[in-house]
Every structure is written in C-alpha cells, then in structure tokens.
Amino acid sequence: MKVSLFITCLCDTFTPDVGKDTVELLERFGCEVDFPAGQTCCGQPAYNSGYKSESIKAMKQMIKAFEQAEYVVGPSGSCVHMLKEYPKVLADEPEWAKRARKLADKTFELTQFLVDVLKVEDVGSTFTGTATYHPSCHMTRLLGVKDAPRILLENVKGLNLIELPMKEDCCGFGGTFAVKNSHISGQMVQEKAEHIEETKADYLIGGDMGCVMNMGGRLRRNGQEVKFLHIAQVLNTQ
C-alpha cells in the first residue's frame, strides 16, 4: 500500500521525531511511504480566523502536492479534518472542489488509518510507564476518531493508562485563540494541567501536536515534571 505522509507544518518544524515515528510505524505494517515535498500548511490558521481567501491559497497548494497520492496519512486529527473540509470551502470553484473531494476521500489520521484501514489494533510496541491521554477536540468531535487511539494505546505493553478527568474538555489551544485570547486560553490550559496532575501520570499523550505543545508548554511553565508525547512516539517504541 502506498502512503503519502502529510507531516503538518508543526511536526515538520518542531517535532520531526513524530514524523520519523509515523514513517516507521507505517512501514512496519507494510506501507510504502513517500513524502511529497511540495506540502506546506493545511491553511487552518487562516481559515479558522476568518481569512477564507488566504486559506484557500494554502489549500490549493496542498491539493496539488498530494494529487498523485494513493493514501494520505497525517499525525494530526485537526489538520486532517481541515483537509476533509476543503471540498466545502472550495464549493464555489467546482474544478477545485472536485480535486479537493478526491484528496478528502483518501486522507486519514494516523490512528484511524492504522485501525480502520490497516486493521491493526496492536502495533506490538512496549512503553513502560504511567500515562494519561488527552483526546483532542477536532480529532474526536469533528473527525469522529474516538476509539482508535484508545484501542492502540490499550494494547501497548507496559503502558499503564489512567483516564484524564474531564478529558473531553478543550485544552485551550484553538490555534490563533491561544494568542488572541491568551488569558482565557491560559486558564483553560491551567485547568487541563491540574487534571493531568491529578492522574499522577508520568506522561501526557496526545494525538495533535498543537494541543500537545500547548499543554506541554504550560506543564513546563508550571514546573510540572510530566513528559509529553505524541501518540506516534509511544506506538513506535519497542
């Protein structure tokens, strides 16, 4: 199976390890992974801020970059959901909307791809430690990926998974919200940090780097010792 990796601009720039782990994971299950170098950012920062025409420029670039792909897989529920919104956003340009539909239909979030397409529930990884998982909003509510990360994590050997209180609450990231409404965002991520503390977990795991950076940044600011990881990093530990 041929898979084109959609790395997301955050992982490309800040956490290349997440990308490496994603590639290795996919390869482990027989995928032939390539990386279309023309990819940039999904356009969400502009789209969610109301700059639709600006975001469309990014979208068109992404459509072009992945035109040849058989499957597109990305380690982020939020960015993958953005790709899936393209046909709607481009509805006024039928030609582009058609190309966008093709992209949307072949795009998957990493855990969703592993469980639903590759039918893998146990990736055979071992990760020793106590962890809690934050199910990010766009992944669960918008993309509808609720079970896949949990199924995969539950099958990781050595991992003691503790439920995060109020786990479905937003961490306060919200893209530009974190900057524009930084005070509200700060209170939201603080509440999240307190819930993480309550679990006494050593690791916080998330499926969206934006949210992980937000929570991780606050944990660090608070001097909390919790380490934070993307789910791909846990699933690729052996």
């Binding site: 992982c11 490309d12 801020s49 109301g50 639709k52 420029k57 990014a58 909003c137 306060g172 937000n214």
Partner: protein
C-alpha cells in the same frame, strides 16, 4: 435592558470575569451538574441521536415554512379570543404593551421568566410608563433586586452563590434568615405572593407556541408561571417569532429535548399551556389575552447561511458545555445571550459593531455543536461570522491582515515555506534558552505569556527524510 449589556469593552469584561473567583466557582460547579445531568438524561432516553435528528427536522421544517405556521398560529389564537400583534422591532413591541397597560390603568405587572422581554427591554419600558414590574422567577427576581443582568439563559442568576443572594435579600427586602436555599426560596415565595394578588397584568414569555391550536406553552420548574397566568385579568405573552412548533406531537419532541438538554430532567415540574381568554363556561383564564410576536432582526436571518441559528430552543446545553463560558462567565459576553449561541446570535440580532469579538471567544472545540439537541452547527457559524468580520466588515487590524496575507504567500509557495522553516531556529535564537522560548517577540507574546514555546528543531522532518532517501539511493 436590551441585547447589549453594560458599556465595558470586551477585554475589560473578560478580565473582570477571569478575576471573579466567586463567580467562576459558582459557574463551574453549576456547569458540572448540568452537564452530567444532560448526559445521564440522554443516555436514559437511549436513542438520543435519533431524537436530535427528529428535533432538527422539526425545527428546520418549521423555519422553512415559518410564514405558514405564524399565520396558522395567529388564526388559532384569535379564534380563541386572543389578540395577536406582530412587532417588527423592540420598540413596536414595547409600545404595544405600554398601550395595553395604559388602557388597563395598570399599576403592577408580574412576569415569569422570558429572555425575549429582556431582549426588547420591556421592564424599562413599562417602568417608564409608570408601572411597577415584578419578576417572579426566583433567579430573575434576585437579579431584579440587584439590578444585575442575567448571565445564563436558563438559570439567569447562575453566577451568584447563596451567600450573595442572602445579602441581596437582606439589603433590599429586610431578610433576616439564613443562606439555606430552601429558606431563601420560601422568603421569595412569601414576598411574591402579594405581588401576584395585586398585579393587573401578567406577562410571560413563550417556550413554544403550538400553531395548530394556538396554545402558548411554558416550561418551568417553580410554578410561578402558573400564578402569572392565572391571577391577573390581562395576560400578555411575548415570543420571538421563531418559537413555534406545528403540532402537539412536535411539541412533545422539542420539550423532551429541551428539558433533558437543559437540566437533565425527563420533564419539568410544570408545563403550562395557555389557550386564549376565559370562555363563558370556564372558571378561570384571563379576560384579555395578547400574543406579541417579536421579529427584532429574526426575519433577516431567514434564508441566510445562519438560518439554523433560529432553530435554537434555548436549552443552554451549549453554554453548559462551553469551556470558555466556564472561565469567563455570562457577563463577559456583553449580551443577554451568552455562550456559544450568544456568540452566534448576538451579532445577527444586534450587529457586529458592539459584538465583533464574540465569534472569536471560542476555541472552535465544538463541544457546543455536540451538545446541541437540535444539531445547530454552532462552531461553523462562528467561523462564518469571522469570515464576515474579516472579508465583509473589514473589522480586523491591518497588522493581522498583513500577517494573514503573508501566511497565504508562505503556505502557497513551497520555496518560501522551506526557507522560513529552515531559518526559524536561527531567527528565534535570541529568545531561546534550553530549547524553549519563555518570552517571545511580536505575535508570539500572547502564547508565551501563558506557556513556554518550543524552539524549532535543529533538523526538520523534511531534512531527515531527504537524508534517508539519499542513503537508500546509495
């Protein structure tokens, strides 16, 4: 009151909210109760998603055919001896009601809870024409005594705790009892009894008007609406023009959704249906009944991409699910309609000028959309508002516009993207310490005020990938 409350700017209101520890505790615990109640009630019902779909269908069918049902409703109300008045604006609605009060030489008006009368500022209008207005819903009464606007559409005094309520009663009504909620409620009841007996006019809102029968239904828990609608001789119900269902069967669905989504109840203590005036062979009911149907900006929403905002049944589930609301409280929205539905509805009814910040007071986490019993895509409406604010109203800052134009260029030009991500680490070096930025420059400031920002990685993913490809080529 009107839709807009207070004169403070958004940033100030938010700070007030965030700094009000009392309020935040009260809101957070109430939200917790409502949320678990809603989830439990939904689970009990079993096929909640099917109910939501049904609710959505009923509401969208009604809005598609609103003129038909409004016509049917007014015919039915008139057939039962009532008078119907269509008010295009708040002013028209108030003037009509003031006129009735004048004709009746009314001195005292008792009210049951109604958001639309808050929206049009009916109390102030009636007071201006010399009437004493008494709110009889416990929460509304507390706020009236305190001259405080509502902070929630179902439980308007949600932001107050019992100690504060006791203080209000003590100061304004000479209360001497404890802060035990039962004792406080008993005191309010006793005080209000006299008002009910003396009132010349009873004013209610309307949860849903049933078009096929002309019945105005009220969904309450305190029983005060029964008093408002049975004691005074003149009764006036005020409804937003969208608060209508075609049939009793439809009513059953939307009321089931409403009570479950709002407070996690199967049914509220009272569901009152008012159908016109007292007929000859009847023992009770008003001599005079008026239904005031308020447009006040609603018809402008019909036929637009925001039409589904009119499906709202005012259950507040979106408000109870909203993490932003939890931290800033209702008053921060500067509107009598707070929370996600408030952020959607307020700019539609009252324009963007005073409310352009509201659509941004959300992380777009979609907890609201998920909670909404009639499936209004609230977070998508917020994005639409943002688009309008940016593209049509041009209300954003020049700096932001420039940044977004830069973004578009960056994200649509791979060479620019590659160069800037390559340079990112070096660019941020002056602010970086131990792989983190604790105090960032420019647009990063908001972020680093609240949390640390990681330094861009030494090697990007694409560099690693390229090297790997080269290795495997050799």
């Amino acid at each position: 009151m009107s839709i807009k409350i207070g004169h403070k700017l958004y940033a100030e209101r938010i700070q007030d909210g965030l700094n009000n520890a009392f309020m935040r505790k009260a809101v957070s615990s109430a939200q917790g109760r409502f949320r678990s109640g809603r989830l439990k009630a939904a689970e009990e019902l079993g096929d909640w998603e099917d109910w939501r779909t049904l609710g959505e269908e009923i509401r969208s069918h009604t809005m598609e055919n609103l003129d038909y049902y409004l016509h049917q409703l007014s015919e039915q109300v008139e057939k039962r001896g009532g008078t119907v008045f269509f008010a295009e604006t708040a002013k028209e609605a108030n003037e009509y009601i003031q006129e009735i009060a004048k004709k009746r030489q009314a001195k005292k008006v008792v009210k049951s809870k109604s958001m639309v009368t808050e929206e049009i500022g009916l109390n102030e209008a009636l007071e201006k024409s010399g009437c004493e207005v008494v709110e009889s819903d416990l929460g509304e009464w507390i706020l009236q005594l305190d001259e405080d606007p509502p902070s929630h559409i179902v439980t308007p005094a949600l932001h107050k705790n019992k100690e504060q309520i006791r203080e209000t009663f003590r100061k304004k009504k000479g209360y001497t009892g404890s802060d035990d909620p039962v004792e406080l409620a008993a005191f309010a009841r006793e005080q209000l009894r006299q008002d009910f007996l003396e009132a010349d006019i009873g004013v209610t809102g309307c949860n849903f008007a049933v078009a096929e029968s002309g019945a105005i239904t009220l969904v309450t828990n305190e029983g005060n609406a029964r008093m408002v609608t049975s004691l005074p001789d003149t009764q006036i119900s005020v409804m937003g023009m969208e608060r209508i269902v075609p049939t009793w069967e439809d009513l059953e669905v939307v009321v089931s959704l409403l009570t479950r989504a709002a407070v996690g109840q199967k049914l509220t203590s009272y569901i009152t249906a008012l159908t016109g005036t007292r007929l000859e062979d009847e023992v009770d009911g008003p001599e005079d009944f008026h239904l005031v149907i308020v447009d006040n900006g609603r018809s402008k929403i019909l036929g637009t991409e925001f039409q589904s905002a009119l499906h709202c049944i005012r259950c507040a589930a979106c408000i109870n699910a909203c993490p932003v609301y939890r931290h800033v409280g209702g008053h921060s929205y500067g509107s009598i309609y707070p929370g996600p539905i408030g952020a959607v509805l307020t700019p539609l009814l009252d324009g963007y000028d005073d409310h352009k910040d509201l659509p941004y007071a959300s992380t777009l986490c979609a907890a609201c959309t998920e909670a909404c019993p009639v499936k209004i895509p609230l977070h998508e409406h917020l994005i639409r508002h943002r688009e309008i604010i940016v593209e049509r109203e041009k209300m954003t800052t020049k700096a932001e516009k420039m940044m977004m134009m830069g973004f578009a260029k960056w994200a649509s030009t791979p060479a620019a993207y590659k160069l800037s991500t390559k340079m990112a680490r070096t660019t941020l070096k002056p602010w970086t310490k131990e792989e983190y930025i604790e105090k960032g420059p420019g647009p990063m400031k908001g972020w680093t005020e609240q949390r640390d920002f990681p330094a861009p990685s030494k090697e990007r993913f694409r560099d690693w990938y390229q090297k790997r490809e080269q290795r495997s080529d050799q």
